[in-house]
């Protein structure tokens, strides 16, 4: 079985997921490079990148399910793992930033209470 036999609708869906995932992950990384302080930078990558990679994994799941003629659910495991661990690592990094008493950007409305 090769790619040319793939129905057009499925191909469109896979392409949609691939492109959306790439754009969302790129926006997450732009946020990481552009935003002003650590706490703001946490927002971009931990969620946008997770959703972006999630989209890529869904595309891969559909593609290999078709290619191998059965349900390929491997990728769901990676996506599940990423969605469970992303908030935990974001929380840990925010805690570390608070612990090191890093400065907030001057536009912050209200700083952390213990600073």
């Amino acid at each position: 079985m090769n790619g040319s036999e793939m129905p057009l609708l499925l191909e469109l869906i896979i392409t949609f997921f691939l492109v959306t995932g790439a754009i969302v992950a790129l926006i997450g990384s732009i946020g990481l490079a552009r935003l002003k302080d650590v706490y703001m930078r946490l927002h971009g990558p931990t969620k946008a990148s997770t959703l972006g990679v999630g989209c890529i994994l869904v595309a891969s799941l559909l593609y290999f399910s078709f290619l191998k003629g059965g349900l390929s659910v491997h990728e769901a495991l990676v996506a599940l793992f990423l969605f469970v661990t992303a908030p935990v690592s974001a929380h840990m990094m925010a805690k570390a930033a608070l612990h090191r008493k890093l400065k907030c950007s001057p536009r912050t409305r209200k700083g952390p209470p213990d600073q």
Binding site: I27, D37, Y39, A48, L51, L71, A86, H91, L98, K110
Partner: protein
């Protein structure tokens, strides 16, 4: 401790492990299902001394609905944050918000904190167990009370129904 609690400490966790095994080997044959079930029975049994108090899930169906709402919210609020990062990153007013918790079950609080972190725009930065508050950092905050009431309405109320 009844006999069921001794041999099968966590039925849901056992089922979860079995499904995880099937996902990992990527095959749904009967042999793998049996092996997955055996692992699902064996692992909770030998590690039960390490687990904290079991969370009581009262309703399974609202929990599924909660995860569906969460998935929709993740996608929707990702779009909002993407717009903020791309168009006006220098006009954002971030801020810390203290969120008073109504839940008291540890597992439910973990799910709430993860939910807050997964919906873009907010990250849980600290959990104060004495005061029962979460410290939330928000990317763009105009009204603290509105943010708190929004989280309360959308996530904490359903969780309270499910776990208490």
């Amino acid at each position: 401790m009844t006999r069921r609690e001794f041999w099968l400490p966590r039925p849901l966790f056992s089922l979860f492990l079995a499904v995880l095994w099937l996902l990992m080997v990527n095959s749904f044959s009967v042999a793998h299902m049996l092996l997955g079930l055996a692992l699902g029975l064996f692992i909770p049994f030998i590690t039960r001394a390490f687990w904290p108090e079991q969370a009581k899930v009262r309703y399974l169906l609202p929990l599924l609905r909660y995860f569906l709402v969460l998935m929709v919210d993740i996608v929707r609020s990702n779009l909002i944050v993407a717009k903020r990062i791309l168009w006006y990153p220098n006009q954002l007013t971030p801020g810390f918000v203290t969120y008073p918790l109504e839940l008291d079950d540890d597992f439910a609080i973990t799910i709430l904190a993860s939910t807050i972190s997964l919906t873009p725009g907010t990250v849980t930065a600290h959990y104060d167990s004495d005061a029962g508050t979460l410290l939330i950092h928000s990317l763009h905050v105009t009204d603290e009370d509105e943010l708190v009431s929004q989280i309360k309405e959308r996530y904490e109320r359903p969780l309270k129904e499910i776990f208490q």
